[in-house]
Amino acid sequence: MVTGTVNGTARKLPPIAEIAVAALALIVVGGITLASRLPHPAPLPVLIALLAAAAGLVLADVVLLARLRDFAWPLFFTVAKWTLLAYAVMYGILEFTFIYDHVTGSTLAVLTLMLTVFSVDVPLLFGFSVAKYADTRPAGG
């Protein structure tokens, strides 16, 4: 049966998902900025600023997550692990395309770092989105 009882969902949690989406948006803006300037060189200071801001948000998310108590960690890590595996295939294809197209130097470094931040951010977002609805109360509680 499907019930309508609020079971552990009324719990107030930090805005981890919102921060992760903001980091994702910054990475996407960085990608658009880079792509829109082609074939001219990428505006590196702008890209680095966007990357740093996204990395800062992901780091803040990791800190907020680490401070959570009574959280469904096994479920979080299960979802995050499989998400990372699935998205690693996509990142791999993207990285392959960049290298195949002779993207080199600082542009490749920034793109790779963006994908790295992405690869932490997305599994974190998916894992948190699932685990926050898990009941962490002991059985019968």
């Binding site: 019930t3 309508g4 969902t9 994702l24 996407v28 803006v29």
Partner: protein
């Protein structure tokens, strides 16, 4: 708070990722890598047009046809539909998006679209912005909700409020996704007629 109880005659067994579909995804992605490595016009166009066409059609069909129908169904019916439908979407959508974007990028390089200067280049930039907005909506909002709904429905007693709350995201974002997909159709038909 009063419980909303809905009797379920038989609850579908929920598999988060349909394992039987993984070999198909692997074949499609291997073909994509081979296509990019070959850097030939026809395979790149095939991957981009087929992937993009199905992606756009699916998004519009889901947003404009299936979405409104689902919204009028009972929570129990929606939950049963989602239990069978969402695992398939979990494989189909990322595969379509990857094949469309990766082949599209390579195709744009091959035919020289990326070399075009502004103001004509704005058409390309607009397509990047459209894809960016759809990426944030899909990965940031819809996919986490999709997975959370599936995990919720695997519980012995799924919480209807949680499922309803998460599924509202699909309704809220359907309009934006629809507009973005129509913009994609306009931009892509314009680019292909350069």
């Amino acid at each position: 708070m009063a419980d909303v109880l809905v009797e379920t005659p038989s609850r579908p067994k929920i598999q988060i990722v349909p394992v039987r579909g993984l070999p198909i995804v692997a074949v499609v992605l291997a073909g994509l890598v081979a296509t990019i490595a070959s850097n030939k016009l026809w395979p790149l166009e095939f991957y981009h047009v087929v992937g993009g066409g199905i992606w756009t059609a699916l998004d519009l069909f889901l947003g404009l046809v299936i979405g409104p129908i689902l919204a009028k169904m009972s929570l129990q019916a929606r939950a049963e539909f989602s239990a069978r439908f969402m695992p398939k979407m979990l494989l189909i959508m990322p595969t379509l998006v990857t094949m469309t974007l990766a082949s599209g990028w390579q195709l744009a390089r091959l035919v020289g679209n990326l070399e075009v200067g502004y103001p004509k280049h704005w058409w390309l930039t607009a397509s990047f912005i459209v894809v960016g907005v759809m990426t944030v909506i899909a990965i940031g909002l819809l996919e986490p909700a999709n997975i959370a709904v599936l995990f919720e429905m695997r519980k012995p007693e799924p919480n209807g409020e949680v499922i309803a709350k998460l599924m509202r995201r699909f309704v809220y974002t359907a309009g934006v996704t629809g507009v973005m997909q129509i913009a994609t159709l306009v931009i892509m038909t314009r680019l292909s007629s350069w």
